[in-house]
Amino acid sequence: MFNFKVDDILQTINMIKMHHLDIRTVTLSLSLRDCISTDVNETSQKIYEKITNYAKNLANYAQQVEEEYSIPIVNKRIAVTPISLIGESAKNPDYVLLAKTLDEAAKAVNVDFIGGFGALVEKGCTKGDDLLLQAIPEALAKTSRVCSSVNIASSKAGINMKAVLRMGQIVKKAAELTAEADGIGAAKLVVFCNVPSDNPFMAGAFHGYGEPECSLNIGVSGPGVVRAALCQLPKEADFGVVANKIKSIAYKITSTGELVGRDLAKRLQIPFGVIDLSLAPTPAQGDSVANILEAMGLERTGAHGTTAALALLNDAVKKGGTMATSYVGGLSGAFIPVSEDAGMIEAVEKGALHLDKLEAMTSVCSVGIDMVAIPGDTPAHTISGIIADEMAIGMINKKTTAVRVIPVPNKGVGDYAFYGGLLGEAPIMPVNKFDNSVFINRSGRIPAPIHSLNN
């Protein structure tokens, strides 16, 4: 009696080989709270030792797991406690030094990115937060694997508009300091509302305050698999059928992530954390969230109906994925980065997709305005305005939203920014040119919304 189904085997292989099913990231989430010291050099040394000790086997073991299941693990990453907190007690604070330490530790253990060079400042900045924010542009220019995220708004605290103002300037400066690489510094920096504390995806991964000493969080992927499944449906299939198809594929993707995560966590002898159920596109042809929306029947992403299609997709992914794993967390939903998604890039090139529509789409999916290249001469207060709008969507709708825009130095609309690898390339998109500086310069906080009278 043959006790396996050959169709199942063929389907799995097909998903990996033809439709880019992969584990996007295995992220070791690690507390650095015991590295705090009154001398920043000692802090730096402790950080290096702790990271290289805990993560020394991450890349090797990940490769073993990859080999045994024949499923690619695209990135190995580390997320640490927000560094603002770790560097704050030093009498001789030096956040750029700590960023360099993170970078060196990441290189020593051969991980692709390390996240957590950030702060949570939704209500205001402590002294350490202030210094960290100041250090972000230089830290990102002088390191290659460090990612930075700053939470500046939440549904409970409101929007820290002083931080909105500052982040506009910081994003701009981060791009300027890395002008020779099309402002890649800004591609490693993300501004959040309602940031999750266990997200394995960059640039926003960090080890939150309520997390254990360490854990392993998994980010799955697979837009190509969902797209391929939807393409097989007849054009007249109703939305119940479409949603069910997405759910069943999301289940398969997630159960694979769960298997890989639990196996790897066991080898590393650390607790398994969460699976982030996100559909994360790559620049590879067909591995695109935009193409999924188009497979539902839109000529191009950006056409009227796009937000509705994305809402269905995002919800169905969560429903299917939660069935396949015990613990879900992170961002969990569909990502809509522009530079990392060939379908999104095409939609922008054809004039189907603009920044305003992207903003609307972020109200129904995970994250937000992501990997969008804008003209290098965009004023800082305009970037702050983009951030403020996104924060407002997150705050009012009690969801995570984020902004990762790159004002590409010396380039304008019609030009392209090139980053390579997972970050891809991006056509530079126009921004609204009307002035918002009086609004942005008001400072203070936009108060948190009332949580009743939901209209």
Partner: protein
């Protein structure tokens, strides 16, 4: 399935030719891998063979066995996938 962790699935694709099953079976014998089940089919004009094996009592680790199979498949100009069976169990059952 308490022993499913040691089960592997070998999937071989390519143009049909004499000696494929024998060549792979030889490797399994060398490494003392128990072949528990074999199935084959054709997909378009391609030959596809599936082999379920148990490496619990093998005299080498997964990685060495996999490399030997990959090498042999390359010589035969066949595409081969060697995977732990758990990935299929997880993906296709609730």
């Amino acid at each position: 399935m308490p022993d499913s962790k040691s089960k592997i699935i070998v999937t071989i694709f390519g143009a049909d030719k004499i000696g494929i099953v024998a060549a792979i079976a030889q490797i399994m014998e060398k490494y003392e891998v128990n072949i528990e089940d074999i199935s084959q089919t054709t997909m378009q004009e391609y030959f596809v063979m599936f082999m379920m094996c148990d490496i619990a009592k093998a005299n080498a680790g997964f990685s060495e066995i996999k490399n030997a199979i990959l090498e042999k498949a390359q010589a035969l100009k066949m595409e081969v996938w060697v995977q732990k069976k758990e990935i299929f169990d997880n993906m296709h059952s609730i």
